[in-house]
Symmetry: C2
Subunit: 217 residues, 2 copies
């Protein structure tokens, strides 16, 4: 499993020390998040839209309506930029300009391929459920033929990819540390809260362990 080669389009130029091109590190970010932002161009205007994704092997799968403007553009071969960002914390420095944000972000450039094969679409739907909520699939009604037909599934190959990551404490110059001020990091994490039962749900069914113990890490 070779690492990514930075291109002129994915090489991290601002603060290059934050650039990450190792495949395993990038896949770990892609597997913790499950919402990406997709940039595409229509009539010269850039658009950015959030959407669910999952990684399977060296591809990201997307799904959407066959009527969606974005999915139609992507299916037509439009160039895309797919961005994933995890916010990890606030960095509190002695100086105002030393303040920062700890984050892990991935950018993927390329084009999407339409998945037409029903079996491959079904496997992608399995991944959308099972990789967002591991353990869920076996309890739900699987998608039928008509549902598969109405859903567009796209695959984005992970070829031109890089990540940018900031971790750790402030990096202000030593001379800034004369101030009597608390400095450090306030970590932030997307955290599950108490599950909310469906008002239409069946009575007496306990919250499953995969919901009760849900974690993205």
């Amino acid at each position: 499993m070779s690492d990514f080669t930075p291109t002129s389009r994915t090489k991290v130029r601002q603060k290059p020390q934050r650039g990450v091109y190792e495949r395993a590190a990038i896949y770990s970010i892609l597997d913790e998040a499950f919402v990406c932002q997709i940039g595409f161009v229509l009539d010269g205007q850039p658009y950015v839209m959030p959407t669910n994704y999952v990684r399977v092997g060296d591809r990201l799968f997307l799904h959407g309506s066959t009527a969606s403007r974005m999915f139609r553009a992507l299916a037509g071969g439009a160039a895309l930029c797919l961005s994933v960002t995890l916010i990890d914390g606030l960095v509190l420095a002695p100086s105002a300009t030393g303040h920062s944000i700890n984050y892990r972000s991935v950018v993927v450039l390329g084009k999407a391929e339409v998945i037409e094969d029903a079996k491959e679409k079904f496997e992608a739907m399995h991944a959308f459920v099972e990789r967002v909520i591991p353990g869920r699939w076996e309890s739900v009604r699987p998608p039928g033929e008509q549902e598969l037909k109405g859903t567009m599934v796209l695959a984005v190959p992970l070829a031109e990819v890089s990540a940018k990551v900031r971790t750790g404490p402030p990096v202000d110059d030593e001379q800034e540390y004369i101030r009597e001020v608390w400095t450090g990091v306030l970590p932030l994490q997307l955290t599950p809260q108490e599950p909310v039962a469906d008002p239409r749900g069946k009575a007496g069914i306990p919250v499953p362990g995969y919901v009760r113990n849900y974690s993205r890490r």
Copy 2:
């Protein structure tokens, strides 16, 4: 404070019932988040990059290096799409295709204006610190003249804007509810964790209340 008028570019077409155009509701989303994704076009290729922003009145402020490719493109008048997404939960339905994500997302189209005036830049820097970490500004060293010169501050007017919001339980048809499966919502929230003191920080300074009790809501 008038609401936004959907344009052909910002009107929510997929699941239009999720479209939100009320200014107060949109500002509440913009004020809870602090990282946006900016889409812009270079040589026909869309790029999407995460960056910090704050809202001040009817504008969003951005800051970056004067050497940044994105900031230079935006300063040159490139069309942009700014996207903000808050992930609120996982929606667990009886059917696989009924699964969804609760979210609040905002899209802003337009162009950025360069803030040149030193006083206005200083006020933007104040907002970057104080709106991301309320209470922090008075303890830190404010930016000096050189720091202000090295930082590009852009303002994006909030004119062509819409939001898309999904809330609540699954919406599967009643007939799906024959399955013996837990359904409902697992709320997710970006949550502060235990503060991590700076190894170079002064000893004996307690964690301030604005860190200890940090909340975006």
